[in-house]
């Protein structure tokens, strides 16, 4: 005799320890198995796109800090790239290199946090998080030294960066870059072969290649599914064409691949950093840009490979001091489309870790 069962709806979030912010999932469960899922977002909606229409181009930069607050330097970077594309500004060499250094350290720190909290979702009670946070904390110290803040940097400016590096920055950064591979090895020792982690993540919640492309997933989520698409290689913005690095690509697109791609990307970022620090030239750090920038009428879409995926800014100018339209292409909102596809048929526990493996940041999703 078949046992009659009834699915029930579980409201996960907005207050839930593993939703990485205020995210809500209406999950239909059959026992422990996820039958249906509906993401509900918007709890952190601050209307940044609307706010941007009333601010000057420079005043928007602090707003972009509040998008993906785990990696705000890359948000600044993407935004100023879009404005420079719109206004046709050429920036000094040294500023380019400083931007690369900041973007790549930001990528490492974001990936460390992503992997750490992914492990936290797996149930490894804070330990990987704290080990990874130690390295991230060292970076935050360096950011604080450069721009005075640890979270919302507001460092990039249209035409360069706001300040030159202090003299004690480079020795400290060199030491950090020299130490980092050893710490990544340690994380590998702690995690990559752990049988429980393998059992929990290998072959779990697969995102097939076709689906990944169709939902326009980007960043590690796309690359874990086997698509070699990294904007740093595919569309080298800034000066990424000068560096020698590889794009790690996963094979099946399961949770383990998403974890693995992030760790490998951190290694590649260390490689880029070594080159960038060695090549860093002297000179100006900011081009001469009028204080109230009035870009010519037109539109520009500037995009970079942010740690979480392709972060784009679409700006429309009407030759006034504020953008006519300021649109953000948040990578994780679009990656989130994949969540439902991945988790149907898996257990609640897999749902949590898959959500962690997408590495969302609600500040960016809700804007």
């Amino acid at each position: 005799m078949a046992i009659r069962t009834e699915p029930f709806i579980l409201n996960m979030g907005p207050q839930h320890p593993s939703t990485h912010g205020v995210f809500r999932m209406k999950v239909t469960l059959d026992g422990e198995v996820v039958v249906d899922l509906e993401p509900v977002i918007g709890y952190l909606h601050r209307g940044i796109e609307k706010l941007g229409e009333t601010r000057t181009y420079t005043q928007i930069i602090p707003l972009t800090d509040r998008l993906d607050y785990v990696a705000s330097m890359t948000n600044n970077f993407a935004y100023v790239l879009a404005v420079e594309k719109l206004a046709g500004i050429k920036i000094p060499e040294r500023a380019e290199y400083i931007r690369i250094i900041m973007a790549e350290t930001m990528r490492i720190s974001s990936h460390l946090m992503a992997v750490g909290f992914f492990l936290n979702d797996l149930g490894a009670m804070m330990t990987p998080v704290l080990y990874m946070w130690r390295e991230r904390e060292k970076l935050l110290d360096l950011y604080e030294m450069v721009c005075g803040q640890r979270l919302t940097y507001n460092y990039m400016r249209i035409g360069g960066v706001s300040h030159d590096l202090p003299e004690e920055f480079l020795p400290a950064m060199k030491k950090w870059v020299a130490e980092m591979p050893r710490f990544i090895d340690e994380y590998d020792q702690l995690l990559s072969q752990n049988e429980i982690l393998l059992a929990r993540t290998k072959g779990v919640c697969i995102l097939p290649r076709d689906t990944a492309v169709s939902i326009a997933a980007s960043g590690p989520v796309l690359r874990a599914s086997g698509v070699k698409w990294d904007l740093r290689k595919a569309d080298p913005y800034s000066i990424y064409d000068r560096f020698d690095f590889e794009v790690p690509v996963g094979t099946v697109g399961d949770n383990y691949d998403r974890y693995w791609v992030r760790m490998q990307e951190a290694r590649q970022s260390v490689r880029i950093l070594e080159q960038a620090i060695a090549q860093l030239p002297e000179g100006e750090v900011c081009a001469k840009v009028p204080k109230l920038l009035r870009p010519p009428v037109g539109e520009a879409y500037g995009h970079i490979e942010a740690p979480k995926g392709e972060l784009g800014f679409y700006l429309v100018s009407d030759n006034s001091i504020a953008p006519y339209r300021f649109h953000i292409r948040p990578p994780t909102l679009i990656n989130l489309t994949a969540l439902k596809d991945m988790v149907i048929g898996w257990k609640v526990a897999d749902l949590i870790i898959t959500f962690g493996s997408i590495d969302v940041c609600l500040g960016e999703i809700d804007r």
Binding site: V213, A216, Y314, R329
Partner: protein, 146 residues
């Protein structure tokens, strides 16, 4: 390097496939009629030498007398990109065909546009407000919303 396809050359191809679809053309973008948007999008996606399989970005600009829906398309295989646009002049009930059937990434983005700009995407499977709550009056990203 992603090559941005020239809109004028591409427009000729589109006209061959579906005549009188193209409204305006410039160097970077092709503007098509909203009625024939779906056919054009299908053509762009399924033609092997174009193969736009990756819808990066979907957004709307409110130019007061018309809305301009902007699609940023990329082909992962050929590594080229295109900006496809369509316009719709009705402010009360602007309707644009949905492209969720072609690119599923349009799912959340169209919902967001519907939420903030009030553009109805015809054929979207689940067109609800995304960021704002149900029962919110108005569409705040329109230029005339105060």
């Amino acid at each position: 390097m992603t090559t941005a396809l020239n809109g004028e050359q591409l427009a000729e191809k589109i006209i061959k496939a579906s005549p009188d679809a193209v409204v305006a053309v410039d160097k970077g973008a092709v503007v098509v009629k909203s009625e024939s948007l779906y056919q054009v999008a299908e053509f762009l996606k399924n033609t092997p030498e174009l193969d736009f399989d990756y819808l990066v970005n979907l957004t709307v600009v409110d130019y007061m007398d018309y809305f301009e829906v902007v699609y940023h398309l990329v082909s992962l295989k050929h590594n080229h990109s295109l900006v496809l646009k369509t316009r719709c002049r009705d402010r009360e009930k602007p309707v644009v065909p949905s492209v969720v059937g072609l690119w599923r990434s349009a799912d959340f983005q169209e919902r967001e546009v519907y939420d903030l700009m009030g553009i109805v995407f015809d054929g979207h499977p689940n067109l609800k407000r995304l960021l704002l709550w149900e029962g919110f009056v108005g569409h705040p990203l329109r230029r005339d919303y105060l």
